[in-house]
């Protein structure tokens, strides 16, 4: 390995203690295409001299070779310190890149950094650099998966239909032992992998022969295989459902229809001639009469209101559709800053932590990070809002929405469903949260709740089914005469309740969000948000909550960290874990307490052991719990293609695997609880 000092781009600071890893600053190019914020990425790379064991043996502090049962050294993996260092250096790289960087931009940044590191690949650093490379690649891949899913959902891709069909057919909350979010996460992961297989089966050569673009040929082949998968799912017996696995769904569907010898590639090969012939014959002969008269599919037929609205809007438009479409695309693209980072404001080249968050708040659009949060998730009510004192049932309905009827107007079967099992549990929990001094018994609370007005009507359904999870829980905000803001209600959609879409997890997540909203309101009312981010009106506050939640949560986190003494990494798990960590924040004390309450239940359901909150806050106990999880599910999950880093406590609680990519909690196989 060459000496670091001899390398022109790298400045190595001598460490006072030779046992401490030396710090290397990698100079990154001021690449305008990547909208640099800083030009240095700090990496900790130990030199050989600083990593001698007492026996004179080299041991890299960031790399482990765990021994197997026979004492043989296993393959290299990041040590605990190595994971921390990988996470830290990733964050350094993220500081260099724009906050809303696409997967392609992230990959470009990783490539630059790794090119710099190549100088160290020889010798003892090679394993570490390789592991960092893999760690970064997985983070980038995770962002890429999110992008692909977003595009698939936006385009109404038939793959989304397969994912939803798989959920409806294969997922059973009680049987599964894990949450729906977890199921959907690994289903999406595997369906994306199948989509890639299909894409790879179609070549440019095929497309040329067919006389159409590769994209069109892929589209036609996708229609065939997704229909095949849906048919397969629709015809599974109960016994087959119990054994079905997502990773093999396409191959199994093909085998069932075309025999054991058939697979993705030879099925396409078998059909490509047919496609080519049909396309070549048909395309030039398509007439206007062959173009479907209506875009409406079966789902739309069941929604005459939407059909009517579209027809009505179309009838009002007197200019050419082409002009409207291209004009709207251009205008909304410009309004949202376009998809290119070239259009973004130049950012400070100074280090941005911690005060730089304010600059991020001002200059960046974090909306891509706010997945599943609808634009009107937080809405302003300047009139008519009721405080909890005025309306203790405020959490059950939403101002400004339809409030006709009551629970008792729902069909008896639906109404009863609201008050048994988990729904009853969280209704009671939420009621007591908002009415802490009540002397009512549980049964009396239920009697009360049976008669309160609730949100009914179709409004919420407009959102559901379009975005996974839907917006079924929301908070409402009030602005008083002095311009102070407050969140006064958590609203649960009763339709979603009745249909079982609001699980205790989701309800708890809503409550956790509400706590965070309240923290945000406090920061706004104190003038803090004005001082650090220039947010000086309720409207700006609401807009920030809607579109810039991650930045807001970062501010809350900082405030808590520095003023309330909550350690930044004290708790990664919380009751709204998926949502909160997706947006990259730790949380407050209330959610921590609720998190443990909820986690106790999950832990009991899973293991049969009654863990106390103290147990769960203890790393050893959690390790034990994690081991039990692994013993039960590890093999199954690895067969599904999960890497060891995917399978840990987060998946155990069903919270998905995209947090790390969003700048939130990092994955580790170690316990995540470190209460201080």
């Amino acid at each position: 390995m060459p000496e670091a000092e001899s390398l022109p781009e790298i400045d190595v600071e001598s460490s006072e203690q030779e046992t401490e890893p030396q710090v290397i600053y990698i100079e990154m190019p001021e690449d305008k295409a990547l909208a640099t914020r800083t030009t240095e990425v700090e990496l900790h790379i130990p030199t050989k001299d600083s990593t001698q064991s007492p026996e004179g043996e080299y041991k890299h502090p960031f790399v482990d070779h765990p021994e197997d049962e026979d004492g043989n050294l296993g393959s290299a993996r990041l040590s605990k310190e190595g994971k921390e260092e990988a996470k830290r250096s990733w964050e350094e790289l993220r500081d260099y890149l724009p906050q809303n960087a696409t997967a392609a931009e992230l990959r470009a940044g990783v490539t630059i950094l790794l090119d710099k590191l190549k100088q160290y690949e020889d010798g003892p650093q090679a394993e570490y650099i390789d592991l960092i490379n893999r760690s970064f690649a997985e983070r980038v891949r995770s962002v890429e998966r999110d992008e692909q899913m977003e595009e698939m959902r936006a385009s109404n891709s038939p793959w989304v239909g397969v994912i939803e069909n798989a959920r409806d057919t294969l997922y059973d909350e009680e049987e599964a032992g894990y949450g729906e979010a977890f199921f959907m996460n690994f289903t999406e992961k595997h369906i994306l992998s199948l989509k890639t297989k299909v894409t790879e089966a179609v070549t440019e050569e095929h497309a040329q022969k067919a006389g159409v673009s590769k994209e069109i040929l892929e589209s036609i082949y996708e229609r065939e295989v997704t229909a095949l998968m849906n048919e397969y799912l629709d015809n599974l017996t109960d016994e087959e459902i119990a054994k079905a696995n997502i990773a093999g769904i396409l191959e199994n569907a093909i085998h069932q229809k075309y025999g054991a010898e058939a697979n993705v590639n030879n099925l396409f090969d078998r059909h490509v001639n047919e496609y080519q012939e049909q396309i070549a014959q048909g395309t030039d002969q398509i007439t206007a009469n062959d173009i479907p008269d209506t875009i409406f599919d079966k789902e739309d037929e069941a929604r005459p209101d939407l059909k009517q609205r579209i027809k009505s809007a179309v009838s009002k438009i007197k200019v050419s559709p082409r002009k409207v479409i291209t004009g709207a695309l251009l205008a909304v693209g410009l309004a949202q800053g376009g998809s290119s980072v070239h259009n973004q404001p130049t950012l400070s080249q100074e280090p941005v932590r911690p005060d730089g968050v304010a600059q991020q708040m001002k200059d960046h659009d974090y909306s891509r990070y706010v997945r599943h949060v609808e634009s009107d998730d937080v809405r302003t009510q300047t009139t008519g809002a009721q405080s909890p004192q005025e309306n203790p049932y405020g959490f059950l309905y939403e101002e400004g929405r339809s409030q006709e009827g009551s629970v008792n107007d729902l069909p008896a079967e639906t109404r009863d469903f609201l008050f048994v099992g988990p729904h009853r549990e969280f209704l009671l929990h939420t009621y007591r949260l908002y009415n802490p001094d009540t002397t009512l018994t549980d049964d009396q609370v239920v009697d009360e709740l049976r008669n309160v007005d609730v949100l009914t009507g179709p409004a919420v359904d407009e959102y559901l089914g379009k975005v996974r999870g839907g917006r079924t829980v929301s908070s409402t905000i009030d602005v008083d005469d002095e311009g102070k803001v407050s969140f006064n209600a958590v609203a649960f959609d009763s339709v979603a309740l009745a249909e079982g879409r609001i699980t205790p997890d989701l309800a708890a997540e809503g409550i956790a969000k509400h706590y965070l909203y309240q923290e945000a309101a406090k920061l706004y009312n104190s003038g803090y948000l004005d001082k650090v981010a220039g947010i000086d009106s309720p409207e700006e506050f609401v807009e920030a909550m809607n579109t810039n939640m991650r930045g807001m949560l970062t501010l809350i986190e900082q405030k808590l960290k520095y003023e309330d003494g909550v350690h930044q990494n004290a708790v990664f798990f919380n009751v709204g874990g998926e949502w909160i960590n997706r947006d990259g924040a730790t949380t407050n004390k209330h959610t921590v307490e609720d998190a443990f309450d909820r986690f106790q239940d999950i832990a009991f359901d899973f293991t049969g052991f009654e863990y106390t909150a103290k147990d769960l806050a203890n790393a050893e106990s959690l390790q034990d719990l994690n081991e039990q999880f692994r013993a039960q599910y590890w093999d199954e999950l690895t067969e599904l293609g999960y890497t060891p880093e995917d399978i840990q406590v987060w998946n155990f609680v069903g919270f998905g695997s995209y947090e790390s990519a969003q700048g939130g909690a990092d994955f580790t196989q170690d316990p995540l609880f470190h209460i201080k």
């Binding site: 062959d290 409207v324 634009s375």
Partner: protein
């Protein structure tokens, strides 16, 4: 998708204006595809924009430029331009596949 890219995609996918059909037939196909794409864009708006922003859609279309109305309605939808691009492009592909199926079924 740039203005010309969508247009190029439609024209090349359906082999329009290449002299393979009467130009009047090409024009009919072209117009019909754009009309369907417009419906799809409105559908996208109803699925993604806030209910309140859509409330006055019909009234606004009476007096304002429609492209600006939709841009305004979609401005708070995260990544609206990217998602709408993907949506319309994919829609055109599906329209082609359906048209082809229809042609072959009646051949």
């Amino acid at each position: 998708m740039q203005k010309d890219k969508l247009d190029q995609h439609i024209v090349s996918t359906f082999h329009l204006f290449e002299g393979k059909r009467d130009e009047s037939e090409d024009r009919k196909i072209y117009d019909k595809i754009y009309a369907s794409c417009l419906e799809e864009m409105i559908r996208f708006a109803y699925e993604n924009a806030s209910a309140s922003s859509l409330e006055s859609l019909d009234k606004r279309l009476d007096t304002e430029a429609p492209d600006q109305v939709f841009a305004d309605i979609l401005k708070n939808t995260p990544n609206a331009a990217t998602r709408l691009n993907a949506r319309i492009r994919y829609f055109v592909n599906q329209l082609f596949a359906q048209s082809l199926e229809s042609k072959l079924a009646h051949a």
